[in-house]
């Protein structure tokens, strides 16, 4: 019973941690480009990134399944180590989580970059800072509250997803069964006590996340460190 409950929790934390790392690595340059570029088509890219906000998880899950499957690019990548598909694997879950949570990470980071404005970067340039130094020494530290918000949202959103992971993961115990899908399975099989234990844990987690977000925002609103 205890190990049965612990396994999906561990897997969920592992998935959310890996996905959050990938999300921040992808979302930060993307958000920088969206905040700074003057390209006319950048809002089209922003809209594509934001699609998961509107689309039902089943639609995303369906296309991800196609993309990760044996006949999609995911299958080709899996072929590199002799597998046939990325679907129903931990790697597939990470890809799905990143796609699904990307808009929630990109948005606060983009806003934070936009709020910096041109001036600090101009100042950096007049002080001989190359564009990369200006980015790492000025833009990133000034946008750090946005990055922190994005990371927390990405982590929380990955923990909270259900439809996408069910479709591309299949809820295989020990491999792709995360907390949200395990709760569904427990309810299906009538194990209400176990379902309740996991569900109550999620409620506490959600509460802590939201409280943390509010605290972060307040801390940074009061003045920079």
């Amino acid at each position: 019973m205890t190990t049965g409950l612990l396994q999906p929790v561990e897997l969920t934390i592992e998935l959310a941690t890996v996905a959050t790392f990938a999300l921040v690595m992808i979302a930060t340059p993307l958000a920088w480009w969206l905040a700074r570029s003057h390209a006319w088509w950048k809002e089209a890219i922003a809209a594509v990134v934001s699609l998961p906000i509107v689309l039902p998880p089943t639609v995303i899950g369906f296309y991800l399944l196609v993309a990760l499957g044996p006949h999609g690019p995911g299958g080709a990548i899996a072929g590199l180590w002799g597998a046939q598909t990325l679907a129903f694997t931990f790697g597939g879950l990470v890809v799905g989580s990143v796609v699904y949570s990307l808009p929630f990470v990109v948005q606060p980071i983009r806003n934070a970059f936009a709020a910096i404005g041109d001036r600090p970067l101009e100042v950096a340039a007049t002080l001989r800072a190359s564009p990369s130094r200006a980015f790492f020494a000025v833009a990133l530290p000034l946008a750090s509250p946005g990055l922190l918000t994005g990371a927390v949202l990405g982590f929380a959103h990955t923990v909270g997803e259900f439809g996408v992971v069910l479709m591309i993961g299949g809820a295989i115990p020990g491999r792709t069964a995360v907390v949200s899908t395990t709760i569904f399975d427990y309810v299906e099989t009538g194990e209400w006590g176990a379902a309740n234990a996991l569900a109550a844990g999620m409620v506490v987690f959600a509460f802590v996340v939201i409280l943390a977000m509010i605290t972060i925002e307040k801390r940074f609103a009061r003045g920079r460190p």
Binding site: V123, A129, A137
Partner: protein, 367 residues
């Protein structure tokens, strides 16, 4: 201007509805003020020189180094050896004052060229010692601007660009910080462009002046020459004044008066204004100068100088501005006198007439 030094810049283009066509030459030493009304494009010119704005039709050469050659060559801002002080200090809020100052300084050990100014000298010049450990948000407006100035200097610029650095400050903060800029001007062998719409800042800081209006440099030259040129709007302005560079020639200890020699004559000013030989800048208002054909009788006015009328310009239907050359031959420094048309007619003033200029007020425009 030789190709070896100074600033040669030309930029033509448009920002939105604002069209400009600037041609600027500035000498390799001293402060050149870019002076003009708001919205005339002074800041645009400065930003083009810094490479913060990019126009295709532009050339810029600083101290013999080409920064822009039309659309063919454009050195990005971070590769230009310049210091830039913005209107708002724009300190990095996430860094301490000390870290702000060292942000642009060459890394320790890497000294490619001899440093123009050292850390200790900047700390001293800008009065930064008590501020080093503070956060930018704990500073007053004037302190922030001093840090911004020090930060720009420590990046070892070969050209200092300042965009109305005092305009965001209140009067008392301005009065506090101006001496720092003056010390800087006198101590560093660095050409500077100083954008301002405040004539008092021009009078205190500038050696050269470029008048800017509607996207063009309408005239440029040494400050005193520009101020006394009757063809330019400065001489006709209500508070028209000239600034003269002089040398302390004598000090009358018993009366507490200082004699300051200028080209063609000397002025006496109240106060013990420094050691003999020291350079001082005098400011003489056109409205403080009155004219007489004969040496006046006994008077409380300290300064009566022989001078010659060089030209006369009508500035109102009842007032004229007379440009005078100091000295009996009129070959010395130029000053202005504002007189009524009636007085001018009664005295028969015209070019070449010898007069005695009575100067009621002589002010040091800086210590």
């Amino acid at each position: 201007m030789s190709a070896a030094g100074g600033i040669e810049a030309r930029f033509a283009g448009a920002l939105g509805a604002f069209a400009f066509d600037f041609t600027l030459s500035a000498p390799p030493r001293g402060v050149t003020a870019l002076y003009g009304p708001s919205g005339c494009g002074k800041t645009t010119l400065l930003r083009c020189i810094a490479g913060l704005n990019r126009v295709r039709d532009g050339d810029c050469r600083v101290n013999g180094e080409v920064w822009q050659d039309g659309a063919r060559l454009f050195v990005p801002t971070y590769r230009r050896a310049l210091g830039y002080v913005f209107q708002e200090a724009s300190l990095f809020p996430h860094l301490s004052v000390k870290a702000n100052l060292s942000f642009g300084a060459p890394p320790v050990g890497a000294a490619p060229a001899p440093a123009i100014v050292g850390w200790d000298e900047v700390i001293d010049l800008c009065g930064l010692a008590p501020l080093l450990e503070r956060a930018p948000r704990a500073l007053s407006g004037g302190e922030r601007q001093r840090v911004a100035l020090g930060r720009a200097l420590l990046s070892q610029p070969r050209l200092l660009l300042m965009d109305e650095p005092l305009s965001a400050l209140d009067e008392s903060a301005k009065a506090d910080i101006l001496p720092f800029f003056e010390r800087l001007r006198d101590r560093l062998p660095l050409p500077a462009l100083y954008v301002t719409h405040d004539i008092t800042e021009v009078e205190r800081l500038a050696d050269h002046l470029a008048l800017i209006n509607r996207g063009r440099v309408i005239a440029a030259g040494p400050l005193g020459q520009m101020q006394s040129d009757p063809a330019l709007p400065l001489a006709a302005a209500r508070g028209a004044a000239v600034t003269l560079e002089g040398t302390i020639a004598a000090i009358d200890e018993s009366y507490g008066l200082t004699t300051i020699a200028v080209r063609g004559g000397a002025f006496v000013a109240p106060g013990r204004l420094g050691p003999v030989g020291a350079r001082r800048r005098l400011r003489i208002l056109a409205g403080d100068v009155s004219l007489a054909l004969a040496p006046p009788g006994p008077s409380s006015i300290l300064n009566v100088l022989p001078a010659r009328v060089l030209s006369i310009k009508t500035v109102a239907d009842n007032e004229l501005v007379v440009v005078l050359g100091v000295g009996a031959d009129g070959a010395g420094d130029r000053i202005l006198a504002r007189v009524t048309r009636r007085s001018a007619e009664r005295l028969g003033l015209s070019g070449g007439v010898s007069v005695h200029a009575q100067v009621k007020g002589v002010a040091l425009s800086r210590e």
